[in-house]
Each structure stands twice: as C-alpha cells, then as structure tokens.
Amino acid sequence: VTDAELIVASRRDPRAFRELYDRWADRLLAYLYRRVFDAEVAADLLAETFAVAYERRARFRDVGKPGGAWLYGIAAKELSHWFRSQEVERRAVHRLGIQVPELDEESIARIEALADVAAHRDALADALGQISGGEREAVELRVVAELPYAEIAVRLECSENTARQRVHRGLARLNNLMQLEATS
C-alpha cells in the first residue's frame, strides 16, 4: 500500500492514518530535530504536523507524488511558522483534542541518536562562524553547551524570553546557511 493510498483510505478509516503515522513519524521527527536542535520543540512540531495532516487529508490529491513529500511539506510549513514566531502552532492539536505526551529522557536520547546530531554539530560549527556575535553566543550555549534557556539568560544577562529569541533567530539563519551549503 502506498502512502498516497493510505492518506486517501484514512478519510474513511483512522487505522490507515495510524499506519501512515507509524511509517513516517521517526523520519519526520529526525528532520524536525535537525532543524531546531530542541527535542521538545521538535516533538511539538511533530504532533502539530500530523494533526494538520489528519485535518487536511481530504484535500490530498494523489498526483503520483510520494505521500511522504506531502507530510514533509506540512512539517516545513510548521517549521517556517516556528522560525518566524518562536512558537509552535498547536491549533490543530487543540482542535483534535490530542493529549501530547511528556517527552522523557529516553525519548530525547533516542531522538538525538536518530537525528545523528554529532555529525550535524560539525556542520553547525562551521556555519556558526558566519552569523552575528550575539546570536552565535546564544546558539552555542544552547546547541553546543546544551544549557537550558534559564541558564543562557543568566549568562547573557537578559530575560529568558530574549534568550529564546536570540537562539531561534540564530538557528533560523543557520538553517538557511546550512541549506545553502547543502545545495551548493
């Protein structure tokens, strides 16, 4: 059964949607994590991505493209929103009444392993040299030193919210730089 067939079938039977979820959830989570470097944000984005996909399944048209591309498109849009607003949209999750589970330590460790974070940290270190000082320091504290936002705020002598914004802005620029590098 192709992904596209599962999406179409899920309009009538939720089991088909669960099968689609099981096929793609790990890969999408790794994709999201590699872009935000924050397991909690990636987990929230994953939940919203599938909630949106479930709500939009009636709009899906099978034109021969892989169904996974459709899911990545939704995830990319959620990522884009996050980079702009520093907030994960949760509207579809709320509308569907999904109780998003807490992220446990084991899950975080497995997500990092799945996303092959070590390899991406090297590429990130190269890109870090290309962004401004304030954002670079914030991103380094978050991604390289893995400090919580509260501690980053203390080190940067700013509010926690400001620290988050600097990290997110820096990551957005890095994301662009790394995508350019990947396509060059």
């Binding site: 009538r12 039977d13 994953l46 939940a47 034109v63």
Partner: protein, 328 residues
C-alpha cells in the same frame, strides 16, 4: 512501532483523539459523491491555514479558513472551508445545502486565536453575547484583495496552456506587475508535472482556488509542475468523463477487460496513454450504493483516475477495483 517511546505514545494519543466522534466528525453532506469530493477538496486544516484574525497581510487574511459550526456556539461538528469569493455566511450555508440551513440562520464572528467562525444564530444575540467579537473590517478588504489576486492568476492559468513552471512563473510575475500587484511575484516551486499550475480545483463547480499557493508574508504565489488544467478538469469536474465513469461503473456488471475498454473509449478524446491498476480494495475501504453492490457481486468498478508523470511523460493511471484481484 518506533524505538522512541514518545513517538508511540503520541501515535496512541492521536488515535484516541481521532476516535472521539465529537472532534472527528464533519458536517454530513448528502450530495452526490462527486459533489462531496469537491466539497472535501475545499476543507483545509485550520492549523496550517491562514487564520484571519492573526495575519497582517490582507490577501492572506482573505484566504483564511472559515469554521462552519452546526450549533449556536463554536463547538461540536465543524467544517473548515476557505473561499474568498463568498462571505463566511454564504460559504457555510452553501456547504450544507441539504441541512435546511439558510444564510439568514447563520452569524459570522471572529474567535480570538481561531479566526472567523460561523454559528447558528438561534436566540443567543450577537457575537459579543457568545464571548466572540464581530468580524473585523480588515476581513472584507482582505477578501476583496484575495479575490482580485485569484482572478488574475486563474485567468492567466486558464489562458496559458501548458507552460513549463519557470516560464509560467516568469510570465505570471509580469502579468501581476502589469496588473498593479507590484510587490507580488510567482515562483516555481517543484512538482513533477510538465505544466506550471497555481490553482487547485475546488467547490461543486470545480473553480480554481489559489489559496494553498499563496504566501502572503512573502507576497509570492507558488507555481508547481502538475498536469494540464484541461486534463484535471476532464478527470474530476462534475459532468466530466472521469466523474461519469465513476457513476457508470455501478450501473452494470463489467468484467475487467470490459471496463478497461469502456474507460479507454470514454477517455479517448484526451489522447493520453492510459495505464490500469486492478486491485481488490482493503477491508477498511467501503464502497456504497450500486457500485458497492456490483463490487460485492465480483464485478469490476471504477475507483478513480489521476495524472502521473513517469519519465516526464504525462500518463493517466486508472484504478479499477475487483473483489478477487490482489489486494492493493
């Protein structure tokens, strides 16, 4: 099963939420199937859709989704629809034509954080009495701008024929500039098909909607490589060969070769290569009406047709269903 506990837990939570009928149910449409399909194509997910009250760009506001509720409060069954050519009340009244609801029975309000919602007027007074606010004036402006932009893009697409996506985007950008949309441009955005396209076919008359292609924040319209417009219309527009085949396959008992001949004859004017896939339907795929009866008798039925592009060549893939064929 995933090795990540969170992924499995989230999957279970998703299952549980979907199983709640109050959330998962949509307004029931008792129209012919093609109309139902057409309406379904209008449904958009509010989570990813433009939410009118929270966006700055008027065009994106205009393309924002409207939630049509079947109660006097924004609660219970909901259909989420986007079409700037109609007011929210017209849109929701048209979405449920057989439910006995008329435009006068409905009231449109703005729901903070959710966008525009339409509820039954009842005896609850206006929006404020329900804890909602009136629809902002900016919404009307947004709709007008969205309709105007859509008209330019759809007219261009209709007249363009099959242009490669980059060329389509270049020419549409020029058309937009000439039409006064100086800060807007069209950009090629992938797709496997040979023809640049910006609209999706939606609504009972399959009008072109460019809402999904519009990025109001960047003032761009995404051009994707898809099938020629005339081909999509021939496969899915009401009264088209594709829709007639769907209905006709329940009218008699076809063998697979017989139905293939019938389909080839019906689609011959399109002058496209046709490939057939014959499968039995999975247990959870229900077939209703006369098509369901024929399928249960072992007859072949028409499931659908779509354009695909193997090796860059456009081809029609026709799915036929037969009980004894291998499972899809």
């Amino acid at each position: 099963m995933s090795e990540i506990p969170f992924v499995n837990q989230l999957g279970d939570a998703l299952d549980a939420a979907i199983a709640q009928p109050r959330r998962a149910a949509r307004l029931r449409f008792s129209r012919r199937r093609y109309l139902t399909v057409a309406l379904a194509a209008l449904a958009v997910a509010g989570g990813g859709a433009a939410i009118a009250g929270m966006l700055d760009d008027p065009v994106e506001i205009g393309f924002g989704a409207v939630g049509c509720f079947d109660s006097t409060e924004p609660d219970g069954n909901v259909a989420v629809i986007s079409d700037p050519t109609k007011s929210p009340v017209e849109l929701c009244a048209a979405a449920v034509p057989n439910a006995g609801v008329e435009a006068g029975d409905l009231i449109a309000c703005s729901w903070q954080g959710h966008g525009i919602v339409v509820v039954l007027r009842g005896h609850r007074g206006g929006c404020t009495a329900r804890g909602l606010t009136p629809v902002p004036a900016s919404y009307a402006l947004g709709r007008r701008r969205a309709v105007a932009l859509q008209a330019v893009a759809v007219a261009f697409e209709r007249d363009a024929g099959c242009l490669a996506p980059h060329e389509f985007a270049r020419r549409l950008s020029a058309r937009l500039r000439r039409g006064g949309w100086k800060r807007w441009r069209a950009v090629a955005a992938g797709g496997d098909g040979p023809c640049g396209r910006v609209s999706v076919l939606s609504g009972s008359s399959m009008v072109g909607s460019i809402g999904p292609a519009v990025d109001g924040g960047n003032r761009t319209i995404e051009v994707k490589g898809r099938a020629p417009l005339r081909l999509e219309l021939a496969l899915s527009q009401p009264g088209s060969p594709g829709v007639r085949l769907f209905d006709a396959s329940g009218a008699g008992c076809f063998t697979v070769p017989g139905l293939e001949r019938h389909v080839r004859a019906a689609l011959a004017p399109l002058k496209m290569p046709i490939r057939f896939r014959v499968t039995s339907l999975q247990s959870f795929v229900g077939v209703t009406g006369s098509r369901g009866d024929r399928y249960a008798e072992g007859c072949a039925i028409f499931e659908g047709a779509a354009a695909v592009f193997p090796g860059g060549r456009t081809q029609i893939v026709v799915d036929l269903g037969q009980r004894d064929a291998p499972e899809r």
